[in-house]
């Protein structure tokens, strides 16, 4: 159990969440230079979900996530250098630039490449859990997705099957209320996501406010239940995206959501919250080492070459 009174616990969480926040701030800074010539879907504001859940994972556990996957990738222990190089479209990336921000993933870090088609990774994660069961491997699969993904039929088929087979998988819905500019109330008669999961006989818990400690602890309980053979578990983590759906910008001018709503979530920023729980020295140490790592990753990405045309033709077939 993550203990808010335990400095080591807090520092570990802060180190992870600060890294993610800073990486995305760097992306915002760099973006206008056109170095990242690809859509980016930032997690800023939502980091506590990935960090809270992944803080409970072991290296052998497997994560599936979405095109909004920077946070999950880094929370799962992804390689920063490979990530920057991938964003820059360079050979130093884990996929030599073939993937980019929307298909982040790295088998070494236990995160499989993400999909830009909403909801389509969910059954793959279920298949991963099935394979782990068949192989008798002690691996839990975690799949992150937005509340928008729960609209899709394949989501339902996936939950039904996972529950039918009692597979070792944790479903994590990052409910940020919106799918692009569309509010969940315009897509569901009632945003009763947990109740719907229950209808598949999957125990589900809703965590309000993005509270990182609550998320950590709920994930720990869910993982324990999975390890106890109780089958799939479900977490609905309420959260909020601060930036525009895609790209580095803010989006207040679009007026699809009330400023006050965004402001309330910014006030509850979990990064600031954790920072405030640490003494200045601990914080500085984490921050400066993180910033050096990021700077180094950027430099390495800069220096890595673009792939030659021949690279295009490799790995179409395996």
């Amino acid at each position: 159990m993550v203990n808010p009174d335990n400095v080591a616990d807090v520092a570990a969480l802060y180190e992870r969440i600060y890294l993610i926040r800073r990486v995305e701030e760097e992306i915002i800074r760099i973006y206008p230079t056109d170095k990242v010539k690809s859509p980016v879907h930032l997690s800023i504001g939502q980091e506590s979900v990935s960090v809270g859940v992944c803080s409970n994972l072991r290296s052998q556990d497997i994560v599936y996530a979405t095109y909004r996957g920077h946070a999950a990738y880094l929370a799962k222990g992804g390689n920063l250098n490979k990530m920057f190089a991938e964003l820059y479209g360079k050979v130093g990336g884990f996929a030599s630039g073939k993937a980019g921000s929307m298909h982040l993933g790295d088998i070494d870090a236990g995160m499989i490449g993400t999909s830009a088609i909403v909801s389509t990774s969910i059954p793959l994660a279920v298949g991963n859990a099935l394979a782990m069961r068949m192989q008798g491997r002690d691996v839990v699969t975690v799949v992150f997705f937005g509340e928008g993904a729960t609209d899709e039929g394949v989501y339902h088929e996936s939950l039904n099957f996972a529950s039918l087979k009692k597979l070792p998988i944790l479903f994590v819905c990052e409910n940020n209320f919106y799918a692009i500019y569309s509010h969940v109330r315009d897509r569901m008669p009632d945003a009763n996501i947990c109740e719907r999961a229950n209808a598949y006989r999957i125990p589900a818990k809703k965590i309000e406010g993005g509270d990182i400690f609550a998320i950590c602890n709920a994930a720990r309980d869910s993982l324990a239940a999975i390890n106890a053979g109780e089958g799939p578990q479900f977490l609905e983590c309420m959260t909020y995206r601060w930036r525009d759906h895609v790209g580095p910008g803010e989006d207040r001018h679009i007026e699809y959501r009330p400023d006050s709503e965004l402001d309330r979530w910014i006030k509850d920023d979990q990064v600031a919250r954790l920072a405030g729980m640490l003494d200045a020295a601990t914080r500085d140490k984490i921050e400066s080492s993180t910033n050096s790592r990021i700077a180094a990753a950027e430099t390495a990405a800069e220096e890595s070459p673009f792939p030659d045309p021949e690279i295009m033709y490799t790995n179409v077939y395996q």
């Binding site: 630039g97 073939k98 980019g100 929307m102 830009a116 899709e152 039929g153 569309s182 897509r187 679009i254």
Partner: protein, 351 residues
């Protein structure tokens, strides 16, 4: 500026066509993810929900499969739905409804019902769209009887085809390339239809026929200018509609030039380019030699990084070089000028 010279963008042309048809016919409605949002599908559905009410222009849950079925059911019941997809790739989620239901309901009832529905699929190319946001799937729909497929290139055809598609009594897959949205062109203000099944010779020439599909027409026209500098006179054809396909016009051109270069916005295998070559060949049956070549996406998924993307898509330059080669020249003997595809170079989002 006289009315007849009015120049508008491709996106505006789509918008105008839709707006005019919605005004004319209360059975027309527009739906799909984001159609009523502030970006209004690159302007093409902008504020329709304000003018016609939220019942006639509405956002949907993320449920391409059912929402397609909803459109089909509404069409059978007398409506004329326009279903908009931000990426043509998303049509892969509703292939069952499109192929098993939309294409067949009319036939399975022997004409007792009809499915007048427009399915707008936007080819997502801009930059860094990667493997899942860049596909064009017209060949799938060309394969299946019961579906029409159009891919207008100019603002004029965008408007005329949209009106024709809305009024057509069949499911029409309406393919739009994102790099065309800002292209300007002269478009009459009053409603008009561009009939399906008529190719356009956009620019005459005697040496080689270059047929482009969708955005590749623009690149083919640029290639024509490059080729002029080496004395090659290319004829550029835009088929506009792919099913039905106006093979006669293409055949006449090939009979004149003896050379056919087809440039597609998709892969080649079992693609539109294969079909056109096969049809031309079947028509000619060896009565006259002609040369035929195809260009399209590289036979790989689309890579994200720009260095590969630049090679992945055909360009004015790669088209010109291929045409040059088909004229019997050694490609190593010519370096065409760089031409900037402004619509690509200037693209900065909304991604």
């Amino acid at each position: 500026m006289s009315i007849s010279d009015r120049s508008i963008s491709y996106a505006t042309a789509l918008y105008e066509a839709t707006h005019q048809e919605m005004s004319r016919d209360p059975s027309v409605f527009v739906y799909g993810l984001g159609v009523d949002d502030a970006k209004g599908m690159y302007g093409s559905t902008m504020a329709l929900h304000r003018d016609f009410g939220p019942e006639r222009c509405f956002d949907t849950p993320l449920a391409e499969d059912a929402m397609t079925g909803v459109g089909i059911g509404a069409a059978i019941a007398g409506m004329r739905p326009i279903h908009v997809h931000q990426r043509m790739d998303f049509l892969l989620l509703c292939m069952n409804q499109l192929v098993n239901m939309a294409a067949k309901m009319g036939y399975m009832t022997d004409g007792a019902v009809k499915v007048p529905m427009v399915i707008r699929g936007i080819i997502g190319r801009s930059w860094g769209q990667g493997a899942q946001h860049s596909q064009a799937l017209h060949s799938f729909f060309m394969h299946v009887p019961g579906i029409r497929v159009v891919a207008p290139t100019t603002p004029y055809d965008a408007k005329g085809c949209m009106i024709a598609a809305i009024r057509d009594n069949n499911p029409v897959v309406f393919m739009e390339h994102r790099m065309l949205y800002n292209n300007q062109g002269i478009v009459p203000e009053e409603p008009f239809e561009v009939p399906f099944g008529q190719a356009r010779i956009l620019s005459e020439g005697d040496d080689i026929t270059i047929l482009g599909i969708s955005h590749m027409v623009v690149e083919a026209l640029r290639a024509k200018h490059l080729l002029e500098k080496v004395g090659i006179d290319a004829e550029v054809i835009d088929p506009v509609s792919l099913a039905p396909l106006d093979i006669d016009t293409i055949l006449r051109s090939v009979e004149k030039t003896g050379r056919l270069l087809i440039v597609d916005t998709s892969w080649l295998h079992c693609g539109a380019s294969a079909e056109i070559i096969a049809q031309i060949y079947e028509r000619q049956q060896g009565s006259r030699h002609f040369l035929a070549r195809r260009l399209g996406y590289q036979e790989t998924p689309c890579p994200t990084t720009r260095s590969l993307e630049n090679v992945y898509y055909p360009s004015a330059k790669s088209i010109a070089l291929r045409a040059y080669e088909m004229m019997g020249n050694d490609v190593a003997s010519w370096v065409p000028d760089e031409v900037e595809a402004v619509e690509i170079a200037e693209f900065k989002g909304p991604f």
